[in-house]
C-alpha cells in the first residue's frame, strides 16, 4: 500500500483547508489553489500509471482489512476518472483567471471548488458503499455553496431546486444502502460481490432498483433530471464546466460500478429497464436542447442526452458495453466542459448567452469558430473525432445484441444533436449581430480562457486521432470489472 491511494481525497481536502486559511489573501490563495490542483494531477497520473500495469493502488484505512474497514481501490476505471477529475479541476481553475463569465470572486469560491474535487475523487476511489454515500454528501454540500455564491435570486432559486431534488436522491441512497447492508451484512464492494449471488432474484432486483434510482437522480437521467436544467445555467462558467463534466458522471460511474461490477451480472429485467431509461434520457434531453436558445441551457440538456448514451452503454453491459462506458465518459467530460467554456468566451465577446441576441462571431474571431467546431462536432459524433469512436462502440454493441430500437434512437438523437450544434454555429458565428451598432468589447482578458479551451480541444484531437490508447485502456478496464 502506498500513501498515493488516498491522494484523490487528501490532496483536495488539504487544499480546501489551505485555501480557506488564505482566504484573505487572494493572490496567495490562488497560488495555493493552483499548486494543489497540480499536485492532485500528478498523483492522478501516477495512479493511472500503476493501474495500467495491473498494479491498482488499494489500501484499507487504519489497516482494518476488507471487508471490515473501508477500502480505497483504484482500478483502471477509477484511476482514469480520477485523472480526468484532476484535469478538469486544473482547467477550470485556469479558466477562472480569465474574465469570461468567471463570476464574482468570492474568497470561499476556491475552497468550495476543491471540496467538489475531494468529493468526486473520493467517490471514484472508494470501494465501500457507505463511504461512497459520504462523498456524495461532500459533493452536494459544496455544490450548494457554489450555487449560492453569486447571490443572485435566480441562483438561490436554482440552489433550492438542486438541494431538494438531490436530497431526495441522497435519502433514497441511504435507504438503499441500509437495505443492502440488511440483506447482505456488507458494505465493501468485494464482499458485496461475493454475497450478491446468494440473494434471491427478486430481492436483488429490488435492492438494485433502489440503488440505481438514487444514482440515476445524481446522474440526471430521465425522468429524474429536472434539477439539472433547472439549476446549471445559473452557475459561473468555470464552475459550470466543472459540474457539467464531473457531477453527473459520478452518478453514472456509480451505476456502472453497481450493475457492471459489484452486482454483475445484474438481473435482466434491471438491465432492460436501464436500457429504456437510457433511450428516453437521450431523446428527451436532446429535445430540451432543441427547444432552448440560451447556450447554457442547450448545453445543459445535452448533458442529459449524452448521459443517456453512456447509460445505454452501461445497459448493454459485457466487456464491450463497459469499455464503451469508460471511453464515452472520458470523451464526454472533456468535450462538454470545453463547450461550456467556449460558450462563456462567446458571452464575453458578444455580451449574451441568448443565441437570438448574438452573432457576427465568425467575422470577429474565426479561430474561436474553429475551436468551437472541435468539441461540437465531436459531441455530434462526426468522425474521426472522439465522439465518433464512443458512439461507434455503443452502436456496434447495440446492433450486435440485436437492440435495433436503441440503435435507431441513438442515430435519431445524433441527428438532433447535429441540429442543435448547427443552430449554435449559425446563430452565434455565421449570422450578423442583430444589433448593427454592436461593438466587440475593447479589452478582454481571455488568454487563460484560450489556454484552457485550446488545451481541452487538443486533448480531444489526440483522443480522436489516436483512439487506440484510450480504447485499449478502456477494454482492459472492462475486463477487470465484474470478475
Amino acid at each position: 500500500m502506498s500513501a498515493l491511494v488516498a491522494a484523490p481525497v487528501l490532496v483536495p481536502l488539504a487544499t480546501v483547508v489551505l485555501t480557506t486559511l488564505a482566504s484573505r489573501r487572494p493572490t496567495l490563495q490562488q497560488v495555493v489553489s493552483f499548486v494543489g490542483a497540480l499536485i492532485f494531477l500528478a498523483c492522478a497520473v501516477a495512479l493511472v500509471a500503476s493501474a495500467a500495469i495491473d498494479q491498482p493502488a488499494r489500501t484499507a484505512f487504519g489497516s482494518w482489512v476488507a471487508p471490515y474497514g473501508i477500502e480505497f481501490h483504484l482500478d483502471r476505471v477509477g484511476a482514469a476518472l480520477v485523472l480526468i477529475t484532476a484535469l478538469m479541476g486544473a482547467v477550470s481553475l485556469l479558466f477562472l483567471a480569465s474574465d469570461a463569465d468567471a463570476g464574482p470572486r468570492h474568497p470561499l469560491l476556491l475552497p468550495l471548488v476543491h471540496g467538489v474535487l475531494a468529493g468526486v475523487g473520493g467517490a471514484f476511489s472508494t470501494a465501500d458503499l457507505f463511504n461512497l454515500y459520504v462523498w456524495f454528501e461532500v459533493m452536494l454540500i459544496c455544490a450548494l455553496g457554489l450555487f449560492a455564491i453569486g447571490g443572485r435570486l435566480d441562483q438561490l432559486d436554482a440552489s433550492f431546486k438542486y438541494l431538494v431534488l438531490n436530497l431526495l436522491g441522497t435519502l433514497l441512497l441511504l435507504i438503499a444502502i441500509g437495505a443492502v447492508y440488511g440483506a447482505t451484512g456488507h458494505l465493501n464492494f468485494g464482499a458485496l460481490a461475493e454475497a450478491a449471488p446468494a440473494l434471491s432474484p427478486g430481492l436483488s432486483t429490488a435492492l438494485l432498483t433502489a440503488l440505481l434510482l438514487a444514482f440515476l437522480i445524481k446522474a440526471g437521467s430521465f425522468p429524474l433530471y429536472a434539477w439539472l436544467p433547472a439549476s446549471y445555467h445559473t452557475l459561473p462558467a468555470p464552475v459550470l464546466a466543472l459540474f457539467a463534466g464531473l457531477l453527473t458522471k459520478v452518478g453514472v460511474y456509480a451505476v456502472l460500478r453497481t450493475v457492471g461490477d459489484v452486482f454483475a451480472p445484474a438481473p435482466d429485467v434491471v438491465m432492460e429497464a436501464l436500457g429504456w431509461i437510457a433511450a428516453a434520457t437521450m431523446l428527451f434531453g436532446v429535445l430540451g436542447a432543441a427547444y432552448h436558445w440560451d447556450m447554457r441551457r442547450i448545453l445543459a440538456f445535452h448533458i442529459v442526452s449524452q448521459i443517456g448514451f453512456i447509460l445505454l452503454a452501461v445497459a448493454l453491459a459485457g466487456e464491450a458495453g463497459n469499455a464503451a462506458t469508460l471511453f464515452y465518459t472520458v470523451h464526454h467530460i472533456i468535450v462538454k466542459a470545453n463547450l461550456f467554456l467556449i460558450a462563456a468566451m462567446i458571452w464575453r465577446l458578444t455580451g449574451s448567452y441568448d443565441l437570438r441576441r448574438i452573432g457576427g462571431l465568425y467575422r470577429l474571431r474565426p479561430a474561436l469558430g474553429l475551436l468551437f467546431l472541435v468539441p461540437a462536432l465531436s459531441l455530434v459524433g462526426i468522425p474521426p473525432l472522439s465522439g465518433f469512436w464512443a458512439k461507434l462502440m455503443v452502436l456496434q454493441e447495440a446492433l450486435a445484441q440485436g437492440r435495433y430500437a436503441w440503435a435507431a434512437l441513438a442515430l435519431a438523437v445524433s441527428v438532433l444533436t447535429l441540429y442543435s450544434m448547427v443552430k449554435i454555429w449559425m446563430e452565434a458565428f455565421w449570422k450578423r449581430h442583430p444589433d448593427d451598432r454592436w461593438q466587440p468589447p475593447a479589452a478582454t482578458r481571455l488568454a487563460p480562457a484560450w489556454a484552457a479551451t485550446l488545451g481541452l480541444a487538443a486533448l480531444t484531437l489526440v483522443i480522436s486521432l489516436y483512439p487506440q490508447w484510450l480504447l485499449a485502456y478502456a477494454q482492459a478496464a472492462a475486463r477487470t470489472l465484474g470478475g
Partner: protein
C-alpha cells in the same frame, strides 16, 4: 469593375493563389503518373485502431482511378476558376482552404477500402459542404440552404453508419473489397436487408435521389466554383460511387436492383421536369444534375456489363460537360450580375469565349455526334437494349434525353445567341483568363474524347472491370459509331428541340401546376419535419421542465414509487417476507408509533412553530427506537441533536414572528395526489426494507467489531470505535461535510441579505 480580376486581387496575392492551385494540379499529375506506371488495383493499409479492428486501408482500382481523375482534374479547373471568380473577395483564402480539405476528403472517400474509413471521409465531405454552401454566411438563404444540405446528408450519413455496422457484422469484416467478395454467398437475413436499406438511404441522400432530391438545387446558394465542384462533378457522385462499389456484392438482390432502378428513374424524370420550372440558369443546371444522378443510379441497378460501361462513361462525360456549364453560368453571373434567363440574351458579342465553351459543353450534354456525350448515349442505349429494362426506365430515359437537349439549348444557345432585346444589363463583359480557360479546356476535353473515344477506353475498361465481378466478361470498345443509335438520338433530339423552343410556355404552364405540388412536395415535407423538431421539443420540454419544484419532486417521487413497486412485483414469488412471530416487543412499536404520530401531525399543521415541534417528535421517536434496539449512545446523540435543532429553529421562527414575517403555510390541507404519493412512497420503502431484512442477517461485521474492539482498537464502546477507528474515513468525510457546510453557508447567508434588499436580485 468585377471583370478586371487583376485589379481586385484583394487579400490573396498571385503567389498564394498559385500555391493553392498547385495542390490539385500536383495531385492530378500524381494520379496520371501513377496510373501510367502501376498496375491496378493498388492497395495499402496501416493499422490505426486495432482495438476496434480499424485499419487505414486504401485500395485504388479502376473505378477509384476514374473518380480520382475527375476529382483532381475538375479540381484543378475549379481552383483556377475560383481564383478568378472570387478575386478580391476577402473569403478567398477560406474558400481555398475548404476546397483543399474537400478534395482530400473526396480522395479519401474513393480510395478507402474500409467501411469506417470511408464513412469518416464521407462525413467530412458533408461537413465541408455545409461550410462551403454557407460561404456567404451572412445571407439568410445561404445559411438555410447549408443547414438543409447538412441535415439531409447528415441524416443519411447516420443511416449509412448504421448500415455499415450491420453490413460489417453480417459479413464478418469491414474491408470493402472482402465484403464485396463475401456478400453474394450470404443468406438474405433481415439484418442484411436492413443494412441494405440503410445504405441505400445514405447513398440516395448524398446523390440527391428521390425522395431526397430537393436539397441539391437549394445548395446553389454556394459560390459557383463550389457548385461546379461539389454539386456537379464530385460530391454528389459519391452516392453513385458507393452503389457502384457495392453493386458486385448486392447486385443479385431484387430489393437492390429495383430500389436503384425505381428511385433512379423517378429522379431522372422528375429532375428534368422540375428543371422546366426554374428561371435561374444555375438551378436549371442543378436539376439536370439531379436527373443525371438518377440515370447513373438506374444504370448501376441494371444488370449486365453494358450498364457498367455506361456508368463509367456517363460519370466522366457529365463531369466534362456539367462543370463547364456551371462555369459558364458563373461567368454570366459575373459579367451581367444575373443568372435569370429572362434577362439574358445575345451574350455572344460580349462574352465570346464563354459562348464558345458553352457551345462545346452544351453539344456534349445534348449528345451531339463528335462529343463524348454522344458516346455516352450510344453506350446507354446498348446497355438498355441489352438489359431487361422495365418500361418506366425507358420512358424516364427518353424524358431525360429530351430535356437534356433542351437544357443544353438554354444554357448554350438561348442566352448567347437568341432572346434579343430583353437584355437589361448593357455592361455585360467577358471575364479574365482564369474564368474562361477552365470551362473551355474541360469542354474541349469532352469533345476530344468524343472524337477519339479510344483515349478513354482503358480508363473506362478499368472502371468497368472494378464494377463487374468477373472481369474477363467485359469486352467492349469505345468507338465512334453511327449505327441505329443515331436514329434514336435523332428522335430524342427532335423532341428536345421542341421542348427548347416551347420552354417559356411550358414553364408558365408548369409553374401553375407545380405551385400546387410545392405544398405537398418533398421540400415542404422536409421543412415540416424540420419545424417538427422545435415544436415537439417545446411540447415535451414544457411538459417535463415546468419550472415548478413541487412538480419536479412529484415526478421524481412518483418514479421512485412506481419503479420500486414494479421491482418488488416483478419477481414476487422469490421474495421472503419477515415471519410474524419475529415482531419486536412493545418498546420499538411504541417508538414507531411516536414517529408516525409526529409525521402525521406535522403534515396537518399550518403554523410553522407547531409544525416544527411535531417534526421534532419524529426525531425523538427515532431516538427511542435506537434506545430499544441496543444503541443507547446513538440514542442520546439523537436526542441532543433533535433538541438543539428544535431550539435553534424555534428561536429563528420566533424572531421572524416578531417581525411578522412568519406567515402560516397557505397550502390546502388535503391534496389527494400528494396523499397517494406519500402513502405510496412510504409503502414502497417499507416493503423494500422488509424484504431486505427478512433473511438471516450476516453478522460477520458486527461480530468482528465486537471481538476486536477491545484487544485491537483499545476501546470499550463499539459504536465509538467504529466511528473513530474501524470506519474513521466515513467520519472524516462527515466532518468535512460539516466544515464545508459552514463554508457554503457563508456565501449563502451573504447572498440572502442583498438579494432580499435588492428585491429582484438581478
Amino acid at each position: 469593375m468585377a471583370a478586371v480580376t487583376e485589379d481586385r486581387r484583394g487579400g490573396l496575392g498571385w503567389v498564394e493563389r498559385g500555391l493553392f492551385t498547385a495542390l490539385p494540379t500536383l495531385a492530378l499529375g500524381l494520379v496520371v503518373w501513377k496510373l501510367a506506371l502501376l498496375e491496378l488495383p493498388l492497395s495499402v493499409s496501416w493499422s490505426w485502431v486495432p482495438a476496434l479492428g480499424i485499419d487505414l486501408a486504401f485500395r485504388v482500382d479502376g473505378l477509384s482511378a476514374l473518380m480520382l481523375l475527375m476529382i483532381t482534374g475538375v479540381g484543378t479547373a475549379v481552383f483556377v476558376y475560383a481564383g478568378g471568380y472570387l478575386a478580391g473577395h476577402p473569403g478567398l483564402r477560406r474558400l481555398y482552404v475548404l476546397l483543399s480539405l474537400f478534395m482530400l476528403a473526396m480522395i479519401g472517400c474513393v480510395t478507402a477500402d474500409h467501411l469506417v474509413v470511408l464513412f469518416m471521409f464521407w462525413e467530412a465531405t458533408s461537413v465541408l459542404s455545409f461550410l462551403l454552401v454557407g460561404f456567404d454566411h451572412e445571407r439568410t438563404d445561404s445559411r438555410k440552404s447549408a443547414q438543409q444540405a447538412l441535415m439531409i446528408t447528415g441524416t443519411g450519413g447516420l443511416a449509412l453508419l448504421g448500415g455499415f455496422i450491420m453490413l460489417g457484422q453480417a459479413s464478418g469484416t469491414y474491408v470493402i473489397s472482402e465484403i464485396v467478395d463475401v456478400l453474394p454467398s450470404l443468406a438474405a437475413t433481415p439484418e442484411l436487408t436492413a443494412a441494405l436499406v440503410l445504405i441505400l438511404i445514405g447513398a440516395f441522400t448524398k446523390s440527391a435521389q428521390f425522395p431526397f432530391h430537393f436539397w441539391l438545387p437549394n445548395a446553389m446558394a454556394a459560390p459557383t466554383p463550389v457548385s461546379a465542384y461539389l454539386h456537379s462533378a464530385t460530391m454528389v457522385k459519391l452516392g453513385v460511387y458507393l452503389l457502384a462499389r457495392l453493386d458486385p456484392g448486392f447486385g443479385e438482390w431484387p430489393l437492390w436492383e429495383w430500389g436503384l432502378k425505381g428511385a433512379g428513374s423517378i429522379t431522372a424524370a422528375w429532375g428534368m421536369v422540375l428543371a422546366l420550372r426554374e428561371r435561374d440558369l444555375k438551378r436549371i443546371l442543378a436539376w439536370s444534375t439531379v436527373a443525371t444522378l438518377g440515370t447513373l443510379v438506374t444504370l448501376v441497378g441494371l444488370r449486365g456489363e453494358g450498364a457498367t460501361v455506361a456508368v463509367g462513361t456517363l460519370l466522366l462525360a457529365h463531369a466534362l460537360y456539367k462543370a463547364p456549364l456551371f462555369f459558364v453560368a458563373g461567368n454570366i453571373d459575373h459579367g451581367t450580375g444575373t443568372r435569370v434567363i429572362d434577362h439574358l440574351g445575345n451574350l455572344r458579342h460580349a462574352m465570346p469565349w464563354t459562348a464558345a465553351a458553352a457551345l462545346l459543353a452544351g453539344a456534349s450534354m445534348a449528345g451531339m455526334p463528335l462529343s463524348f456525350g454522344y458516346v455516352v448515349k450510344d453506350v446507354i442505349l446498348e446497355a438498355k437494349s441489352a438489359g431487361d429494362v422495365f418500361a418506366f426506365a425507358k420512358a424516364a430515359n427518353t424524358v431525360f434525353g429530351a430535356v437534356a437537349v433542351a437544357v443544353a439549348g438554354v444554357a448554350a444557345v438561348r442566352v448567347f445567341w437568341r432572346h434579343p432585346g430583353v437584355n437589361e444589363t448593357c455592361e455585360a463583359h467577358e471575364g479574365g483568363p482564369a474564368l474562361v480557360a477552365p470551362p473551355l479546356l474541360l469542354a474541349l476535353a469532352g469533345i476530344t474524347l468524343g472524337t477519339f473515344p479510344f483515349f478513354a477506353q482503358e480508363l473506362i475498361a478499368g472502371a468497368t472491370g472494378a464494377m463487374t465481378p468477373d472481369a474477363e466478361a467485359v469486352a467492349f470498345s469505345l468507338a465512334l459509331e453511327f449505327g441505329p443509335a443515331l436514329l434514336s438520338l435523332l428522335a430524342t433530339f427532335a423532341v428536345g428541340v421542341v421542348v427548347y423552343l416551347l420552354w417559356d410556355p411550358l414553364h408558365a404552364r408548369f409553374e401553375r401546376a407545380a405551385r400546387r405540388v410545392g405544398r405537398i412536395g418533398m421540400a415542404a415535407q422536409f421543412e415540416r419535419a424540420l419545424s417538427w423538431i422545435p415544436r415537439s421539443a417545446a411540447a415535451s420540454t414544457r411538459a417535463l421542465q415546468t419550472g415548478r419544484l413541487p412538480a419536479y419532486v412529484a415526478l421524481a417521487a412518483g418514479t421512485i414509487v412506481i419503479a420500486l413497486a414494479a421491482a418488488l412485483v416483478a419477481d414476487w414469488p422469490s421474495l421472503y417476507w419477515p415471519s410474524a412471530d419475529g415482531w419486536p416487543g412493545g418498546g420499538p412499536v411504541g417508538a414507531c408509533a411516536l414517529i408516525v404520530f409526529g409525521a402525521v401531525a406535522a403534515v396537518l399543521q399550518r403554523d410553522r412553530l407547531v409544525l416544527l415541534l411535531a417534526a421534532g417528535l419524529v426525531g425523538y421517536g427515532s431516538g427511542l427506537l435506537f434506545l430499544f434496539t441496543g444503541a443507547p449512545d446513538v440514542a442520546y446523540t439523537q436526542f441532543t441533536v433533535e433538541t438543539v435543532f428544535v431550539i435553534v429553529v424555534a428561536s429563528v421562527l420566533l424572531a421572524l414572528n416578531r417581525q411578522h414575517r412568519a406567515a402560516g403555510l397557505a397550502e390546502p390541507l388535503w391534496r389527494p395526489g400528494a396523499f397517494m404519493l406519500a402513502v405510496g412512497f412510504g409503502a414502497a420503502v417499507t416493503a423494500l426494507l422488509l424484504v431486505a431484512t427478512a433473511g438471516s442477517f450476516d453478522t460477520a461485521l458486527s461480530q468482528f467489531f465486537a471481538e476486536r474492539s477491545v484487544p485491537d482498537a483499545y476501546g470499550r464502546n463499539v459504536v465509538n470505535v467504529i466511528l473513530v477507528d474501524f470506519r474513521a474515513l466515513d467520519t472524516l468525510g462527515e466532518i468535512t461535510v460539516v466544515l464545508l457546510s459552514l463554508i457554503a453557508a457563508v456565501p449563502l447567508l451573504q447572498a440572502l441579505r442583498p438579494a432580499r434588499d435588492k428585491g429582484d436580485g438581478a
